[in-house]
Symmetry: C2
Subunit: 304 residues, 2 copies
Amino acid sequence: MYTLVSLFKLSVPIYVHNPHLDALKDDILYHFSLGTGSHNLPAMFGDVKFVCVGGSPWRMKSFTEFIAAELAMEDPKSEYPNICAGTDRYAMYKVGPVLSVSHGMGIPSIAIMLHELIKLLHHAHCTDVTIIRIGTSGGIGLEPGTVVVTKQSVDATFQPKFEQVILGKTVVRSTDLDQSLAQELLQCSKRLNQFETVIGNTMCTLDFYEGQARLDGAFCSYTEADKQEYLLKAKEAEVCNIEMESSVFAAMCKLSGLRAAVVCVTLLDRLKGDQLSSSHEVLNNYQLRPQKLVGSYIKQQLKA
Amino acid sequence: MYTLVSLFKLSVPIYVHNPHLDALKDDILYHFSLGTGSHNLPAMFGDVKFVCVGGSPWRMKSFTEFIAAELAMEDPKSEYPNICAGTDRYAMYKVGPVLSVSHGMGIPSIAIMLHELIKLLHHAHCTDVTIIRIGTSGGIGLEPGTVVVTKQSVDATFQPKFEQVILGKTVVRSTDLDQSLAQELLQCSKRLNQFETVIGNTMCTLDFYEGQARLDGAFCSYTEADKQEYLLKAKEAEVCNIEMESSVFAAMCKLSGLRAAVVCVTLLDRLKGDQLSSSHEVLNNYQLRPQKLVGSYIKQQLKA
């Protein structure tokens, strides 16, 4: 039965939309320190089915160790070498069909990574790839530690769009994410039953301080009342949390045919404060939650 | 004479513009893993007079080793510990009055760092601080390896402005840099006489691929002719190079009273190509040039 279904299921490739790429003799993925001329990308990455991305290189390494244990694929002798060891821009780890990549902070940083990741998966002839961003965020009206699976990524005016500047002109791109994947992740969290998980909109900003109405940056020209008014407007627009990468992540994954989700834990309730003053232990515990949820989901998918 | 001049020279503090900061019991600089409650910032940083920032943590560490040797302050026993070892968001090193901090890639990443750096320098009661970004860039019509000292940072439409979104509304900020500092750096490079240095405008973009008219991203909807037309328009606007951090760097330093400059080497001529295909040896050699120039400048200033 499985084989029969598989026969009728068309595999989904990774789309690049760039006629110029064919003319390149080698394609150098500079910020990964990888390339088609120097590396056998199909041999290295051809079996990838899940890609998990997150801001911090440490967290993406620990995710790889976690997923290796979850999938019982851990090699006690292995140190999970950083595949991008030739650069310090990003870190990349792989265990079985799961690739784990760091992306730094903010839209430009994750966009560079995604351009090169999409080309990497394309050059490696990967198909049916699911990509999930596991990150941290500020919550709005949620208990700290709540995990948010993003329904729609919205901008600072609560619109579901990403503005890409091309040759000095602004092009608007959709920030739709895969709704069935979001639902599957929510169901998975219910089965896991270890922490609260909700589905809601995620606001993506270009700045952590003034851009997120924080009162504790080097500059602040608004009052506590202005801040509350803005965050409550966001809440009315069904914004559950705020982070800095989801919009371009959603836009680029949609363009390239990657099934994509954003799973972020909230480290604090922004209606109650701005500073991340919880202990490192508490914050570290919160940061493990998206890893646990996504690890559980991947394990379940690979068993199916 | 020196004392007399000093008596009449008013020292310039670091300005934060945020009335809410005084109300904070502790100020946690989360992305540095430092804080006013946990660290004695005046003791740790009160003597800082020069701050050098750059994207790559490795490069900022090597800059610290270089400047220690230049200033004959190197301690052969010292490993120059990373002051931000409690986090992997940024790396920070210090030798004498010179602080070296990494900022990752893109405007949002450097903005988070600058908010916390400006607060750090303010809490440490630093005065008369000069800050210089040493980075890499794509050149327009320049021989690769040329160093560009930024006259003005311009956006993707060649306007000298930075748009900061605050509570969902756009506020326009000036991207003026210190012109006398730029001239001093140019003179210093002439004395050094090791590589070509020019003063010109720097275009700051939110994206490395489509945002800089590259033909080698995962997506590209324009032709080689469109690309050339856009880059030649940039050249007409006196843009010498393109990078991803200078506009918010200029805007935030101006607001906080930091004397600021941007010194970037060009790794390639964008009129001739997009891929960074030079050997690692050549690229590494180019990347040392801003370090050499700024190291020489700091040495000269500290001797004066």
